[in-house]
């Protein structure tokens, strides 16, 4: 059980407090309800570029990191298609330093030209390092637009093309800040050995005078029901053929989400999963194979991916894979198999929950879903899942007309 308290400031900021008496550290985690899905199609990669700019100095403080380091702390952030999350870890006795810094950049940024110029270059190098200069690095840049035709999940957080980042203007940056970075669009979580009343006082002190804003309405185009099998083959200078089967699945706030999560574990979480045993160990078609879900807030993807063994054709693999998927539709999984998936999930949850930062981040994410207490309820939702649910989910999701396949063909294997 993860305990927490909650209060809201007049300007709309939601604050969570999680007490942990065992640690000398504090975590300050801020989730902004903005991600790559909130970008316009002509200016992609912006939420992520903006995350970089948040470290370039705020309205009253020229440098974010140095004062935090001076207080013995460190900081980082990440951007996904759904959210942008910033965190600080520091000695508990210096908590106020983090609140001073975080509240000032919520108030307003420095917006220096130098910061924008440099971070544009840094992000372009990040684009190259992670997406262009790695074997299979550009797979998600191809797979997203194949699976999504309308919804903004069709581009990656890094952006569609480098040019969008190169073209980012200061006026765009300012507009983005004013729209998305205000207290009403943020959730703050403080974790550590503190008293709730003190937390209320110092949070009000640092955040109370930030002007309230309007939580921007999010109206995104809904992805229409997929009605055909989609397939794309790309040829790359890689040593091995690789495959990616992406199936549409439900949005996060739906019990089908949890069922699809368990289904993906049954398919390919570990070495006792179905696809690993059948396609790798028994039929020796794949050298690597796994399955997972993207975990998106809007309709997500269940992905089966891996690499072919040398000499195995995509066609042979494809037939064997569909045959294996069919079994899940025809027969419910056994209680024993389900119990195995559940205990693995339980072990990982226990390990995740022991990190202070993890607890703070997850509390914010559940609060975004509607209630931070979701962190304590999830286990019960998983426990209520029955073999028949997995079967129904398989029937619903694992069909060709719901699937987008990306094949990466090694140039040497191409004809």
């Amino acid at each position: 059980m993860i305990h927490f308290e909650r209060f809201k400031l007049d300007n709309g900021l939601t604050v969570l407090f999680h007490k942990d008496v065992t640690t000398p550290l504090a975590v300050v985690n801020t989730l902004y309800d903005v991600g790559a899905r909130d970008e316009s199609e002509e200016k992609t990669g912006f939420a992520h570029l903006f995350e970089h700019l948040m470290f370039g100095g705020s309205v009253n403080i020229p440098d974010f990191d140095a004062p935090l380091q001076m207080a013995g702390g460190e900081s980082n952030a990440f951007t996904s298609n759904d959210i942008t999350n910033y965190y600080n870890i520091l000695p508990a006795k210096n908590l106020e330093t983090a609140l001073w810094l975080e509240s000032d950049r919520m108030l307003s940024l420095g917006f220096t030209t130098k910061s924008l110029e440099v971070q544009r270059n840094v992000v372009i190098e990040e684009f190259k390092q992670r997406y262009l200069n790695q074997p299979y690095g550009d797979v998600w840049l191809k797979l997203r637009p194949l699976a999504y035709h309308v919804h903004p999940y069709k581009w990656a957080t890094i952006g569609k093309v480098i040019k969008h980042i190169e073209d980012a203007k200061m006026e765009d940056v300012k507009a983005f800040f004013h729209k998305h970075y205000n207290p009403a669009n943020a959730i703050l979580c403080i974790a550590g050995n503190f008293e709730f009343e003190n937390i209320k006082t110092i949070v009000t002190k640092w955040y109370g005078d930030i002007p309230g804003g309007i939580k921007p309405a999010r109206i995104l185009p809904a992805e229409p029901e997929q009605e055909e099998l989609r397939e794309e083959i790309i040829e790359r200078n890689v040593p091995t053929d690789a495959f990616y089967y992406a199936f549409k699945m439900s949005e996060r706030r739906n019990e089908m989400y949890y069922m699809a999560d368990v289904l993906s574990d049954a398919l390919g979480r570990d070495k006792s999963s179905r696809l690993y045993i059948s396609l790798k160990k028994e039929q020796k078609l794949a050298s690597e194979i796994g399955a997972y879900i993207t975990g998106s807030l809007d309709n997500g993807l269940l992905v089966i991916s891996g690499k072919l063994n040398d000499g195995v054709s995509f066609e042979t693999f494809d037939k064997a894979l569909w045959k294996e998927l069919k079994k899940l539709e025809e027969h419910p999984i056994s209680d024993k198999e389900l119990a195995r998936l559940m205990i693995k999930m339980h072990t990982s949850k226990e390990f995740q929950d022991q990190g202070l930062l993890n607890r703070a981040m997850n509390l914010c994410q559940f609060e975004l879903l509607g209630d931070a207490n979701g962190i304590n309820e999830e286990h019960e939702i998983y426990k209520a899942i029955k073999p028949s649910h997995i079967q129904e989910t398989a029937i619903h999701i694992l069909k060709p007309t719901n699937c987008s396949i990306l094949k990466v063909k090694a140039t040497q294997n191409a004809e």
Binding site: T22, T23, P24, L25, V59, N60, I61, Q69, M70, A71, G72, G73, E74, S75, I89, L90, P91, K93, N94, E96, T97, W100, S103, L107, E117, V118, N121, V122, I124, E125, K128, Q129, L132, N133, Q134, P135, K205, W206, D209, N237, V238, P239, T240, D270, K271, S272, K281, S287, E288, K307, N309, D310, K336, R340, K344, H346, T347, E350, Q354, L356
Partner: protein
């Protein structure tokens, strides 16, 4: 009215509590380290074996490590993995130069049941031919993929030139995958695993009976030999470049042989290392990323081996700014050698490092790892009090002295790939 331009008062960390694990003898030389103070249901068990890459021909150590759960006469690899998964266990194994570590994560109530499955699988491992072939194929594919990455190519070439003549300088080649024999795997396994256990680490709220049972289960693997590690290793100085067609970034590695925790300059050098390249506000990050935008990241570290250590600078930069980056790295070295570090910067780094140490000592898992990183050198947790002393007494002059002594560009092995 709140003054937002002034930082709240920064309070100093006055003390860090270091907690030592309990120590039990498995044999004369092999010990079990036990951290019992875990406030939740999780547990971790690590087995260390004298089975690092330097213990055998190229490739052998890594292959044997990958085969540990590959099957016995009674059970297939799938059955073994299934049994561990049914107990909610996670199994990991890995190899470094000097040892191999097998780790399992689980709920504490399942530690012994999983360990029983694992010890049975390892004790009776048979190296089925089809499992050997499968692993060789998988590893060959992974190796080919790695060889497409400039970071891997640069790291590999750096390792060859840094350790030059030494056994640490050997690297895997594709031809190694063709010459692996099952006999050589079996031989290595028997010598370095079944008679090669060097230490055990348990973190989790287990009972004394459970600890005794763990010792019973793995006690027969205790090693009774001591490996001699090389002492005098000299890096090949100077620059070399590897061409990788089509790369849009160039990977750079710069470094030299150095020392480990047992050396008198170690603690002070770590402060210099931090200023130079080991935190977000470091000289290299401030210049090469935050001022020039040449890279997504650049960092330095001191890596340690049993008798020696080495210093390394690593980055990936845009292909057109490789030379400019090299010049900026040299420029930053010259600044450290010719200008005294300012008080503000030095204070910041001291406070930052104290915060990092506090974090490294937070919670039973971190605390155990902190202890295990001094234990191989015959040191105790008191080492970290000497680190704190070093932070309290460091001067700008001392930083400069160390930069002059250890950071000469002409002493460096310099490698790029792109």
């Amino acid at each position: 009215m709140l003054n937002r331009t002034i930082s709240p008062e920064v309070k100093q960390i006055d003390k860090i509590d270091f907690v030592k694990p309990q120590i039990f003898d498995i044999s004369k030389d092999v010990k079990l380290f036990f951290m019992k103070e875990v406030p939740n249901e999780t547990a971790r068990l690590d087995l260390y074996f004298d089975a690092g890459t330097i213990n055998g021909d190229t490739g052998i150590a890594s292959f044997v490590n990958g085969m540990l759960l590959s099957g016995t006469d009674e059970k297939t690899s799938t059955q073994i993995n299934n049994e561990i998964d049914e107990l909610g266990g996670f199994f990991e194994s890995g190899v470094s130069n000097e040892n191999a570590v097998v780790t399992m994560y689980s709920l504490r109530e399942n530690v012994l049941p999983i360990l029983k499955v694992m010890t049975n699988a390892i004790q009776n491992l048979v190296f089925h031919q089809h499992e050997v072939e499968e692993l060789v194929n998988d590893r060959r594919q992974k190796f080919k993929t790695s060889m497409e990455k400039v970071s891997f190519l640069a790291q590999r070439a750096f390792q060859q030139r840094l350790f030059s003549e030494s056994i640490y300088g050997r690297v895997t080649n594709e031809s190694d995958f063709d010459t692996i024999s099952t006999d050589s795997l079996k031989h290595f396994f028997k010598k370095n695993y079944l008679n090669g256990l060097t230490k055990v680490v348990v973190v989790g709220d287990l009972t004394q009976d459970e600890i005794d049972e763990i010792i019973d289960l793995i006690g027969s693997w205790a090693s009774n030999t001591t490996t001699e590690f090389e002492k005098n290793i000299k890096n090949l100085k100077g620059y070399s470049h590897l061409v990788k067609d089509g790369a849009v970034q160039t990977a750079i590695r710069v470094g030299r042989m150095l020392f480990n925790k047992t050396h008198e300059d170690y603690n002070d050098f770590l402060i210099l290392n931090t200023i130079f390249g080991d935190y977000f506000g470091s000289r290299l990050m401030s210049n090469i990323r935050e001022d020039k935008g040449y890279t997504y990241g650049i960092g330095t570290m001191v890596a340690e081996l049993h008798n020696v250590g080495y210093f390394i600078i690593a980055t990936e930069v845009g292909k057109d700014v490789k030379d400019a980056t090299m010049l900026e790295i040299q420029h930053e070295i010259t600044r450290l050698q010719t200008e005294l570090v300012g008080d503000d910067e030095l204070n910041l780094v001291k406070n930052y490092l104290m915060g990092q140490l506090l974090k490294s000592a937070d919670g039973p898992y971190s605390m155990t790892d902190l202890y295990m990183s001094v234990e191989p050198y015959g040191l105790d947790l008191d080492f970290y009090n000497t680190s704190i002393d070093s932070l309290n007494n460091i001067t700008p002059e001392r930083i400069q002295e160390l930069a002059i002594k250890y950071l000469n560009w002409n002493d460096m092995t310099v490698v790029s790939a792109g």
